[in-house]
């Protein structure tokens, strides 16, 4: 092994690493992929929703054999207070198309499948191998990696850091900093198993149709956060995530938060009788565009969560990971085909290509959203949801109060909670950040 030199070493077998390894191997590059888990996926946690078009670009016929759970036909956005939810649901028969747009997946199974494709494309995949350090030459160029296996440095022309949100190698090499507590969310999740028919009945689904609920409001207890419920074939993924800085400031317990969400009167009946088979926790990059670190250097590029490529507003991450991995792979293959060295200058091609893709365009669009939502979390995640619930209840409850008085009460509650100026300024700031 140590005598060999690879065109590329990919560290990590998640979405971005698999996309990069597959892209390079299928273009004839000699690729070694290193994964610390027992099998690809054993360390990976996601909700999880798969966006088809980004995978289709990499593996056009993935629907033939990928382990997909359900294709999504309904999306429910909920704003919750302690006893209610106000919802906007979007359900469309258009999503029952021959090549559906979104699927739920179970990552441990999906990642094993993706890894089989990577190996079939010609990459060598080595599991149960933790990369402990990058190997650098005297000039600071990355020339390979050290692992916890015997045998010294493994050499490569370029190292693709697909090491996930906790990417230790990049921070130890000082390519980027440890993410700030205000730039990552801690999400906790449980897998609730139920018979397929029960899930279908509870959500009004047939066959492999799926439904997603995303909920914000008092469930996050004033923290910036989001709860989710995803239907898989025979299970429901239920989770909630909030900013780490807010957890530290409020001293809320993540699993107590998850249990309260589970017991919310709108959620509890959907899970009744389920058997829980796993509890997982994971960090999600939330810093957006402004948190993106240096993406390339002499002999290295960074992709996926390690590069903080996550669109918190649209709750997209794995598709940005896959796309950044693919683009890094294409850039490296292009540089090699020109017989150019893997210098920082040449690898800047990766950043240039990423700039032109939806990845950085989307993140740039929402660059001011994290700061807005994170610094006004109590208004956006507690005050407004409570007001919305009150307004909805005022509207639907019939008790002999004249309607004009009900409307006045709703308006007065809004002004009392946030003041006229506060309401206008929240609306303007939200509009500007969304623009």
């Amino acid at each position: 092994m140590t005598e060999e030199r690879f065109d590329a070493i990919v560290v990590g077998a998640g979405m971005s690493g698999n996309a990069a390894a597959y892209t390079m191997a299928s273009r004839g590059l000699k690729v070694l992929q290193l994964e610390r888990g027992e099998y690809p996926g054993s360390k990976n946690v996601q909700g999880a929703i798969l966006y088809a078009s980004m995978l289709e670009t990499i593996i056009p016929d993935f629907r033939d054999d990928a382990p997909l759970e359900r294709h999504l036909i309904e999306q429910r956005f909920w704003v919750t207070d302690d006893t209610s939810h106000t919802g906007m649901h979007y359900r469309s028969d258009d999503f029952n198309e021959p090549a559906p747009n979104r699927y739920t997946i179970i990552r441990a199974q999906f990642d094993k499948w993706f890894s089989r494709k990577v190996r079939a494309a010609g990459a060598i995949v080595l599991c149960e191998t933790t990369v402990t350090e990058l190997a650098l030459d005297a000039a600071g160029k990355v020339i390979g990696v050290h692992t916890d296996r015997a045998g010294g440095v493994i050499h490569a022309n370029v190292v693709v850091l697909a090491e996930g949100v906790n990417g230790l190698l990049g921070t130890r090499a000082r390519f980027r900093k440890v993410p700030k507590p205000e730039a990552v969310a801690l999400a906790v999740k449980e897998m609730h198993f139920l018979p397929e028919e029960v899930i279908n009945e509870r959500f009004g689904l047939t066959g492999d149709q799926g439904c997603v609920i995303e909920a914000a409001g008092t469930i996050s207890r004033g923290m910036a956060g989001l709860g989710f419920l995803y239907t898989n074939k025979e299970s429901i993924s239920l989770g909630i995530g909030c900013l780490v800085s807010h957890f530290a400031a409020t001293l809320e317990s993540p699993y107590a938060l998850l249990d309260a969400f589970k017991n919310h009167p709108s959620i509890r009946p959907l899970l009744a009788g389920s058997e829980i088979k796993e509890y997982a926790a994971h960090l999600i990059p939330e810093g957006g565009f402004k948190a993106i670190p240096q993406l390339f250097g002499d002999g290295w590029v960074v992709v996926g969560d390690a590069a903080q490529l996550n669109n918190a507003v649209h709750r997209e991450g794995s598709n940005l990971a896959m796309t950044s991995g693919r683009i890094a792979g294409e850039a490296i293959a292009a540089i090699k085909s020109r017989k150019h060295p893997m210098t920082s200058d040449n690898l800047s091609l990766y950043k240039a290509m990423l700039d032109k893709s939806f990845v950085l365009k989307d993140l740039r669009k929402y660059k001011d959203m994290p700061a807005l939502l994170h610094t006004n979390s109590r208004n956006f995640f507690t005050t407004y949801p409570q007001l919305m619930s009150q307004a909805a209840q005022n509207f639907v409850r019939v008790d002999g109060t004249p309607k004009i008085e009900k409307e006045r009460a709703t308006t007065a509650a809004l002004i009392k909670a946030r003041s006229r100026w506060g309401l206008v300024s929240d609306a303007v700031r939200l509009a500007l950040a969304w623009r």
């Binding site: 402990t132 230790l168 507590p181 957890f247 001293l251 699993y255 088979k277 509890y279 926790a281 960090l283």
Partner: protein
């Protein structure tokens, strides 16, 4: 907030781990009294790996760790803790993820 007591042990019991006995991947630096962030870990760690001992110091038992990195984000830069990945193949092994 909720009346029900959540037992984290019951949650972690569902998970699969291969514990690297004698080689913890997280270490807490020696201290007299814990920093606010280190103390916060006793509540914020989703696997409740951190606990205050009789002398008021924070200790870690990483056997149930899900390798999320919350403690790293809060306490690595200050030097309160030292955080590495477990050796290859060890640690949490998600069945579903």
């Amino acid at each position: 907030m909720t009346a029900s007591v959540v037992r984290i042990e019951d949650k972690l019991y569902q998970n699969r781990y291969l514990v690297d006995a004698g080689r913890p991947h997280i270490k807490v630096r020696q201290h007299q009294s814990p920093s606010p962030n280190l103390l916060a870990l006793t509540v914020v760690c989703p696997a409740k790996c951190y606990e205050v001992n009789e002398d008021g110091q924070v200790e870690v038992t990483a056997d149930g760790c899900m390798e999320c990195g919350t403690c790293r984000v809060l306490c690595e830069e200050s030097g309160d803790i030292d955080w590495s990945y477990p050796r290859g193949g060890f640690g949490v092994l998600f069945k579903f993820g």
